[in-house]
Amino acid sequence: MTDPVLSVKNLVVEIPTRRAVLRPVDDVSYDIAPGEILGVVGESGAGKSMTGNAVIGLLDRPAHIAGGEIWLKGKRIDNLRADQMRKVRGKEIGMIFQDPLTSLNPLLRIGDQLEETILEHLPVSRAEARKRALQALEEVGIPAAAERLGSYPHEFSGGMRQRVVIALALCAEPSLVIADEPTTALDVSVQAQIIALLKRLCRERGTSVILVTHDMGVIAEAADRVAVMYAGRLAELGPVEQVLNAPRHPYTDGLVGSMPMASAGKERLRQIPGSMPRLGSLPDGCAFHPRCPKADAECRQNPGPTLDATGGRAACWFPVSQEVSA
C-alpha cells in the first residue's frame, strides 16, 4: 500500500474545565491514503469536529492536543510551531466549514479572497494568481466566473457560496481536505450537487478528503472508508460497503438500522434508545454500554478493544455479525 497522506496515531484532545478534564477525542487512530475519502459519522458531540480541528491545528483554547501524533506525508505536524503550522493550513490541508453563509468575509470580493490565499501559498505573480482564481471559480462551476470575481459574497446563493468556499479550500492545491458537514446548512436539492462536485474535484487531483457528516446516505455515496465515532472514541473503522452492509459495532448497527435507505419497505426505521452521555459523565468501561443490547460485565469495566490491537474493525467486545464476515 502507498504511504498514507495523513496518519493520526492515538490522538487525545483534552479540555481542562473547573470540574474535570474532558476528553472530546480519546485515543483516535486512522490513516488516509492518497485520494481516499474517509467518511466520519457519529452523533452530535461525538468529537468529529474536534478531531478535524486538531488535525488542522485550529483547536480553540482551552482545548488542546494532549497525546498522540499526527503525521502528514511523513512529517509530524502536531508539534509544529504556530508559524510553521500556518504554512501547512491551506497549502497542505484545506478546510471547508458547515455554513457557507458565514464562511466568507462579507466585505471582501471573492476574487480578492481567492487571490490572497493563492499568493500566500504559491510562488506566483499577482497576474498569475488572478488567472488561477478565475480557474478555481470555473472548476467549481460558477457561471460567468470572470465577472463573478468582482462580486461580494452576499451576491451569491447558499449553494454557490459553498462552491466558492470549496474553490478557496482547494485553490492552493492541498493534499488533504477536511470537509466538516459541508452540506448540512444547504438545501436538500443542492446537497447532492455539492458532494458530487467535491468528490469529482478531489478524484481529479488525487486529494484525500475527511468528510464529516451526519448523513449516512452521503457516506454511502461518497466515502471509501468510514470511521464511526462515539463519545470521543472510534467505534468502528472500515471500508464503506463492509461497515454499511455488515456493521460490527452495535452502535454502527444502530446507525445503519436508522438509515431510511437500508431498511426501505422492509421494516420500520430502528432507533437507538437513549442518548450519548455527556463528556463530563461518561460511564466506566465502554461508553456505549448503557445503550447497548449486548452489554455485559466486561463492557461495564473495560473500554472496547483498541482497533489496531485486535486487528478488528470495531472497538467492541461482542461485535455484531462477526460470524458472517470473519
Binding site: L58, M95, L107, E116, E120
Partner: protein
Amino acid sequence: MLAFVLRRVFQSLLVLLVVGLVAFSMFRFVGDPVDNMLGQERTQADIDRLRTQLGLDQPFPVQYFKFLQGAVQGNFGVSYRQGRPVADIIAERAPATLELAAVSGLFAITLGIILGVFTAIRRNGVAANAIMTLSLIGVSLPTFLIGILLIYVFSVELDMLPSFGRGDVVDVGWWSTGFLTKSGLMALILPSITLGLYQMTLIMRLVRSEMLEVLRQDYIRFARARGLRERAVNFRHAIKNTLVPVITVTGLQLGSIIAFAIITETVFQWPGVGLLFINAVQFVDIPVMAAYLMLISVMFVAINLIVDLLYFAIDPRLRVDGRH
C-alpha cells in the same frame, strides 16, 4: 443613492428648523438682555427704545422668522454685548475651536482604534488589561477634573506645557492658526488631550468589543484555515468588519467633541466659540447663543449625513445598485 441623499438632506433641514425654534424660544426665557445692556440709570423710555431697536417688541413668530431669514444668509444679527455682527465674532473664534476639535478628534480616533485593536488581539496580555483598567478612569473622570489634573502636573509641577490660551497664532487669510508656531502647537497639547480623552476611551472600548466579536466569526476561522498570516487576518479581514459599526458612534462622538469644547475651553481659557458661548450666557447675549446652537446642530446633522454615506462606501451589502 441620489434619492437617499436628497431624502436625508431634506430630513436634516427639518431637524435644523426644529432645533432653531427650540433654541430661539428657550432663550426668550433666559433673562432680559435689556437689563444687562443698560446701566443702572435707565428710564422706561430708554428700555422701550432699545426693545424696538432689537425687535424684541414684535410677536414671537415674527422674531423667529426674521432670525431664520438672516441665518440662511449667514446673518445672525448683532451681539448685544460687543455690538458687532455675530457672524464676524464667530468667524473670528471658530478657527480656535475647530483646530482644537480636529486635533483632539484625530487623537481620539487614532489612539482609540489602535488601542482598541491592540487590546482585542492581546486580550489576555498584561498590557491590554492595564490599558482597559486605565480606560475606566478615562470614562469616569469628568472633563474639567482631567483638565485641572493635567494643568497641575504638566504646567504647575513640571512646567512643560502652557496652561491657558492658544500661544502665538499666525493669520492665514481670515483664518488664525496655531499650527505654525511652536508655542501654538505646545498650547494645543493639554486641551486636546482633555477634550479627546473621554471619546478616545469610548472609541477604544467600542473597537475592542466589536473586534472581539468579529474575531469569533466563521470567516475569521476560515481565513485562518486557509493559512493566512495573523497580520492579514487581523488587519485585513477583522478590522474592516470592526469599523462598520464603529463609524456611527465615532461620527457622533466627533460632534460631541465640538459641543463639549465649552468645558475644556473654559478650563484652559481657550479663545474659541465655546468660551464665547459661556460668556454670552452670562450676558444673555441672545444672538450669539442662538447662532452658536444653530452652528452646533448644523455640525451634528452634517456629521450624521457623512456617516451614512461612509456606510455605503464600506459595506457593499448596502449598495443596492450593485450587480446581481
